[in-house]
Symmetry: C2
DNA sequence: GGTGGGGATTTCATATTATGAAAATTCAGA
DNA sequence: TCTGAATTTTCATAATATGAAATCCCCACC
């Protein structure tokens, strides 16, 4: 592993919505590195356009990030092809919809759309949650044994009252998901939400991602839940058709 | 400048819409570096989530890029605040609208929206054009002498029949733009388009960016051009109010 | 207008670390 | 199973990132 590159990535990741503008000193303190080292790295990143200098001696993320983002294939495809279907789902049932992928034992949200009039949920594109404690994560685990293996190795820990922390219990649940083609998360996460997820599959039936619809427990418990489940499943299938050529 | 970081940035930039999936060999060839070096860098970037491994031995851009992009303050603000106003402009006049910023002698497009039924234009978020040959670029030059200085140092070169290649002529044009508060580009670029641009200013009247409306020459030449100019100017002013706290 | 202080830069010797040739491995296709 | 073309790993060496300290720069305060 090339240290300088790793550090550069860490520096870029320091710039968040909470701290979009940072000075050299702040960066160095955050990452516990020498100000000189930080300065060298930041200067290089500025030269490349990844960071840019504020009018003061502060820095912020630069244009290069926008450019790179435009080239993320998923972003392109997910936006162009999946978005209309996701919007339709939101339109019908309110709540929030995510598309999530598996990475290093967690689910990463690669798309998020929320209805305007729904309980806010603390997720954003790029954020992560434990796979075993989310509806989309459980779908991903159910459809790919390698994901499960990786998750087990990292261990299961308590997240909320209903989190599955027993490996055997998790395996049972995954079998159920395989049989039924969808998963449910009822307050297993820290957000007090009810989620329904279904798999997005490639042409060769490998799992690419999962789509989920999330809403307050009260809302989802009501009579039209089975209709929601059907809709999430069919949306997942439609998106699978659109994105199915992708193999991760 | 830290070489490893610079090279890592170059590697990331290799992944484009044309070549979204690359092998080590291809990357090494593109950048004329040793395959081993490329491999070390790519491995590190994979570890950081900036790149990800395809199912084959190929690589593509990873989730980290999505995450970083979400934190680009401009992106956030531009989308949330400027987008409705931009959409309104498109709705009224068709064509394409860009928001552009100045960087290293060129304009960088940080937002692009096109009407569905208009002549396509070869720009995208993150792409660049010479400042002196675009309507938005000329606005940026007119409102910031430092930008002009930088542009002159890099020299003016022929881009299309109407490109301004004489420095004195350019300065005259910029004075006109200052007086009138907008700029026009009539086939000065390589795209055969007619553009109208106006400045987006901060509260302290420094130029942040420029907004332009672009369309086929034939369309823009007609009688309601003065109305278009007024609309572009007033949209720019509204966006200035929304984004005015930003100081670059 | 001068002064002090808290940054950001720059410098430079040193130790760390990236480099690249070559060997080992993997994988797909014959 | 074999072959060839890729990737991945290894490792000695050269290159370069590192960080303490010195300098510079810009504000805020006198």
């Amino acid at each position: 592993m090339i240290g300088a590159v790793k550090k550069a990535c860490q520096i870029i990741s320091c710039f968040t919505n909470e701290t979009p503008i940072l000075g050299i000193g702040e960066i160095a303190a955050k990452l516990d590195m020498n100000v000189s080292t930080a300065h060298h790295l930041v200067s290089t990143l500025c030269n490349e356009g990844v960071l840019m200098k504020d009018n003061q001696k502060k820095y912020r993320l630069g244009w290069k990030v926008l450019e790179w983002n435009n080239h993320v294939m998923f972003q392109q495809d997910v936006y162009d092809k999946a978005m209309p279907l996701v919007k339709e789902l939101i339109h019908r049932f309110k709540g929030s919809v995510h598309i999530a992928m598996f990475d290093k034992g967690t689910v990463v949200f690669v798309l998020k759309v929320s209805s305007k009039d729904t309980t806010p949920i603390h997720t954003y594109v790029g954020s992560r949650k434990p796979a075993y404690a989310t509806s989309s994560g459980k779908v991903l685990l159910a459809y790919n044994p390698a994901y499960l293996q990786e998750t087990i190795e990292r261990g299961l820990s308590y997240q909320a009252p209903n989190t599955i922390t027993d490996i055997e219990q998790l395996k049972e649940e995954l079998k159920w998901i395989q049989r039924n083609g969808y998963s449910i998360s009822n307050n297993e996460n820290s957000d007090g939400m009810y989620g329904i997820a279904a798999p997005i599959l490639s042409y060769s039936k490998k799992i690419i991602a999962a789509i989920n619809l999330v809403g307050p427990v009260s809302y989802m418990q009501d009579s039209h839940r089975s209709m929601i489940i059907q809709s999430v499943k069919s949306t997942a299938q439609l998106i699978s058709k659109e994105l199915g050529y992708i193999e991760v």
